[in-house]
Symmetry: C2
Subunit: 269 residues, 2 copies
DNA sequence: CCGTATGGTTCATTAAATGAACCGATGGTT
DNA sequence: AACCATCGGTTCATTTAATGAACCATACGG
């Protein structure tokens, strides 16, 4: 199977690599590629993907492996992401204090509603899923921690737009709004109309926005300074969570959010 | 407060950086340093720590930031670890399938015993904590996910030595056994005696081994091939988990481990 | 108003990253 | 068995690109 061109995986549509070190750039792209690959990848394959010589790739991998960012499967000789990524990633967790205080409330919310519950926050204009409590159904739902959600087409994202930094919407509109499904709100006017409503009622939904048949409902969490600190949401099928959800689930979400906000030092209602 | 010399943080006691790319090496050390720092660090500070020019550090940070491995606090201009570490770290989680199947059993074990429960596995001769379920006590216990445990001085480590790869013990004995406390088993003979007993009875403890007053009890988990796949443990004070633990807790641990092993496809008893 | 921090940039020097060609091993195919 | 095409890894001459001294502009404190 032809893998997607490696360089596209990370650089994506973004403009120029700016003025940095090209060597490091290659190393990081290698690291990213390996972390995104489902299977360990061989040296030659990597050299082909990145259009570099085997010698170059080999030395990069040596250094990455030395720092445990990459490991070589002793049996197949192929390369896989290393444990260091996991270790450093876990260390980053501590920085998001919202994570610790939210956990128990999320579990309670899950038990109340039976739905999968996710926690998100805004990092550098990106909505990132921080934690996930699996729902009480047979099929596993919800976005995994670490996932980046679209600002305009997810419940979490729209909560961030509605209650987050002032100029977030402007930066969001600077690039085209990707239509994930035929139902995705992808025009500026429709999104702004949506946000007015979300601000008024305090919660956002995203029926069929990012995936047909799936819906989410999210509410904001505020910190000690009274500012947006993140969001919590329930996710499920459009059958279980309709576009206009039941008063019960909204109430449960708002209660949980208020509780978390209070624990973060929020003094508001 | 004088920070520890940055270069020592990662290279540690290890011998030579091998033959890799020095540029990448510096980048990775920078990344590691930032991830380990509690607070964001300024450019000049980093240049001093790594004994390199500001220009060099700056360009490295530019590239790291471009890939979201590092972010610059807009207010203080200082540098902090980026969200990419968290994202890639979470992605690594999927690779450890033991994580998914173990979770519910760990929660049940925690509820049964009240103790903090941890899950570990062996990665490149290192025992790494994969998951932690907090105990039901006021004070938070247990080692955080991502932590590397000593092979000879932790319950998890000794389970790995007893039930893991044949030659792990040999490689473990190749370097001196660090004595974390006065009670740490740090002689070859004592360790080997310990392991014989652990193999016979199927569980390991580590009273006062790595921290005075703290004990852990661990049992192995086996995979579909009947080989060691990791371990689960309960942790607590030596008062709550004595050196020779109650039959109840041992039974609970063994039951949970058997259940997880079975879900991993283990056909044994 | 100076002194000394900070983050960031420029540019000539040179150190170091690079790739073509190579090796030894492995594993199918003829 | 001989062959060919892989594989991971290494060598070494070439030249690219990483480097640091010196340089801004700015901010803070006495």
């Amino acid at each position: 199977m032809p893998l997607r061109q490696a360089s596209a995986a990370l650089q994506d549509e973004r403009a120029v690599p700016a003025n940095g070190t090209g060597t490091t750039d290659l190393s990081l792209r290698l690291l990213d590629f390996l972390a995104r690959s489902a299977e360990p990848v061989g040296l030659s394959e990597l050299a082909r993907q990145f259009q570099a010589s085997k010698a170059t790739i080999h030395r990069h991998l040596q250094t990455l492996a030395y720092h445990d960012f990459v490991r070589q499967d002793p049996a197949t000789m192929r390369y896989a992401p290393g444990i260091k990524l996991f270790i450093l990633g876990e260390r980053l967790r501590e920085r998001f204090d919202i994570l610790g205080v939210a956990r128990s409330e999320m579990v309670r919310l899950r038990d109340e509603t039976g739905h999968a519950v996710t926690l998100s926050t805004l990092v550098d204009d990106q909505v990132v899923v921080l934690d996930l409590i699996q729902g009480h159904s047979i099929v596993n739902f919800g976005t995994q921690p670490g996932t980046v959600l679209p600002l305009h087409a997810s419940a979490h994202g729209k909560v961030a737009l509605a209650f987050g930094p002032e100029d977030l919407l402007r930066r969001c509109l600077a690039r085209p709004l990707k239509a994930w499904t035929p139902h995705t709100v992808s025009t500026r006017a429709a999104l702004e109309r949506d946000l007015v409503q979300i601000k008024a009622r305090g919660w956002a939904t995203s029926p069929n926005q990012v995936l047909q048949g799936i819906n989410g409902i999210a509410v904001p969490v505020f910190n000690h300074a009274g500012r947006y600190a993140g969001g919590i949401s329930c996710a499920g099928t459009v059958q279980t969570i309709p576009a206009t959800p039941s008063a019960a689930i909204i109430k449960a979400l708002k209660r949980a959010a208020a509780q978390i906000s209070r624990r973060l030092g929020y003094a508001g209602k």
